[in-house]
């Protein structure tokens, strides 16, 4: 809980730092603050406290996810350091990002629907601005607008769902809702199902599952690369964790009513996103569709709930996030700002900067799920979970789609190692980014070789 205060304080500090000309000192302070919040979060481990009359609960699930978010955020800051350096609104962006993190922490630790809503909004509103932070660039504007539009649209659905559930259960508290749903005298009415479905729709928008995904590629492409990286990692983690928390703790009693729907959506997500990704030319769009696809894989944990599904999901999310961050970091270095990198711009990267090419290859392999990298185990756990729940067909489909996935990930790899480009000058990579890439590399490999550490946490 203290971490929330630290993060909020950090955000406020960043906000007013500009006024006092603290820009230079800001970056180290933010990094220290993030580390501090991660440490504070870890101290909450196994305490399971609830705060503010049960608005937030820092159980192990919440602690694990919010620590994960802080760590990913640290990596993200390392990645985007140079982006911040060349920006006139540096402190604003810092503040927005940190507030978004606060929102993300809310989203993983809420035990009241109000906090879910607030978390989502704190996160989203900050991101709407970040997405459009290239003010003169129409593409960025457009991305920002579409993100805003779809975000608020989704919020509408979410809220309508919340309202209906409140109508049935007279409470916003997760445990009370669950009790009301369970209690024999409450006839589970059509309103409840409608509410559950509407909330599902709202959250599916947020995690960009098919058929609510259409905004994601546009937004990802138009936004500045670092912001896209933020969206596809931290936002994804938070949104999915929130989704998972809601449906496992709250709506599990009525799971027969929503599981089938979710299965359909999972299937659609897996197929559509992977197939569409094959036809993309821009690396950012490929990564966007890949993130949609990964949402599909994560959804598998939700439709097949067993005792290890939350652990599997956590592992998946982390493996995915680390690999994505490093992929985006490479993209950021290769394409730079203002360049909407198509696959061809990776041509001959292996010659121009072997290190970048290598890390990109490893990240993509991890995303594709090739052993022994973390991405493979992530998929593996999910398949195991699905197997346990008896969704063999789903597993088969997931395997087929991940094969399709290999195809488009490998297009980039092929471009890097195979094709030659007229540009031959080598690419200089900032030191922080190098460190980041090395860390991501190590984490991806180590997580892959010793997955047990994380899986048993939850």
């Amino acid at each position: 809980m203290n971490a929330v205060f630290v993060l909020s304080g950090l955000g406020i500090f960043s906000l007013i730092a500009e006024i006092f000309n603290f820009r230079r000192a800001l970056f180290p302070i933010v990094v220290l603050g993030l580390i501090a919040s991660a440490v504070l979060l870890i101290l909450d481990w196994n305490t399971g406290h609830s705060y503010y009359s049960n608005m937030l609960t820092f159980d192990n699930y919440a602690v694990a996810f919010s620590t994960g978010i802080s760590v990913i955020a640290l990596l993200w800051f390392m990645m985007s350091s140079d982006y911040f350096h060349n920006n006139t609104h540096v402190t604003d962006h810092f503040a927005l990002v940190i507030f978004a993190l606060v929102g993300a922490v809310f989203m993983v630790s809420y035990s009241n629907l109000a906090m879910l809503f607030l978390g989502i909004e704190i996160l989203s509103v900050a991101l709407y601005i970040l997405a459009g932070s290239k003010m003169k660039d129409l593409l960025s504007n457009e991305a920002s607008f579409k993100y805003f539009l779809m975000g608020s649209f989704a919020t509408g659905f979410l809220l309508f769902g919340i309202a209906l559930i409140y109508g049935v259960t007279a409470s916003f508290d997760l445990s009370q809702i669950a009790q009301k749903i369970l209690s024999p005298e409450s006839e589970t009415s059509a309103l409840l199902y409608a509410g559950v479905l509407l909330m599902m729709v709202g959250l599916l928008f947020k995690i960009s599952a098919v058929p609510f995904h259409f905004w994601a590629p546009d937004v990802y492409e138009g936004s500045p690369t670092v912001v896209t990286a933020f969206m596809s990692t931290i936002v994804k983690i938070a949104a999915f964790a929130a989704f998972f928390r809601l449906f496992t703790t709250c709506f599990s009693p009525v799971s027969p009513q929503w599981t089938d729907v979710l299965i359909v959506i999972t299937v659609l997500t897996l197929v559509v996103s992977n197939v569409t990704a094959v036809y993309q030319h821009s690396v950012k769009r490929i990564l966007a569709y890949s993130s949609v696809a990964h949402a599909g894989y994560m959804l598998i944990t939700l439709v097949s709930l067993t005792d290890i599904s939350s652990g599997a999901m956590f592992y998946y999310v982390l493996a995915y996030a680390v690999a994505s961050i490093s992929a985006f970091a490479v993209l950021h270095n290769v394409a730079g700002e203002g360049d909407y990198a198509i696959v061809d711009s990776f041509n001959g990267l292996a010659k121009r900067n072997p290190f970048l090419a290598f890390t990109m290859a490893v990240s993509l392999l991890s995303l594709a799920g090739i052993p022994p990298l973390a991405g493979f185990f992530a998929k593996y756990y999910i398949f195991t979970v699905a197997f346990q729940a008896g969704h063999v067909g789903l597993v088969l489909l997931a395997i087929v789609t991940s094969l399709i996935g290999i195809y488009y990930y490998f297009r980039v790899i092929i471009a890097m190692y195979l094709k030659s480009s007229d540009k031959t000058e080598s690419i200089a990579v900032p030191v922080l980014n190098q460190i980041l890439l090395v860390i991501c590399l190590i984490v991806t490999v180590v997580l892959g070789i010793f997955p047990d550490m994380l899986i048993n946490l939850l």
Binding site: E121, G132, E142, G156, L159, L164, G167, F172
Partner: protein, 99 residues
């Protein structure tokens, strides 16, 4: 008044908002439709809150209003930036990225 009336009314408002978002081409009208959706929710929450005799629903409405204000502020800011770049508020100008 029976609760059902409120439910139907707010559902109707909500659906109008949704359709407006989907079909209208002017960005400002789309914004208004989103507000309509949120207000439909507010109405519903207040109705349920009165029905249950529980204040939580009304507090939630406060939250929604506050957040909606923030959202609108950001949304309009985005709109202004777009307008400055394109001199138009028609959603058709936003076609650089394909859907």
């Amino acid at each position: 008044m029976p609760l059902n009336y409120y439910i139907w009314l707010s559902t109707a408002l909500f659906v109008i908002g949704v359709l407006g978002v989907l079909y209208r081409r002017n960005i400002i009208i789309i914004f208004m439709c989103i507000e309509l959706m949120l207000n439909a929710v507010n109405l519903l929450l207040v109705a349920f809150s009165a029905h249950h005799g529980d204040g939580a629903g009304q507090v939630f409405v406060f939250f929604i209003m506050a957040v909606a204000a923030a959202e609108v502020a950001v949304g309009l800011a985005i709109l202004i930036v777009i307008y400055n770049n394109t001199r138009s508020t028609d959603i058709k100008v936003l076609n650089k990225l394909k859907w």
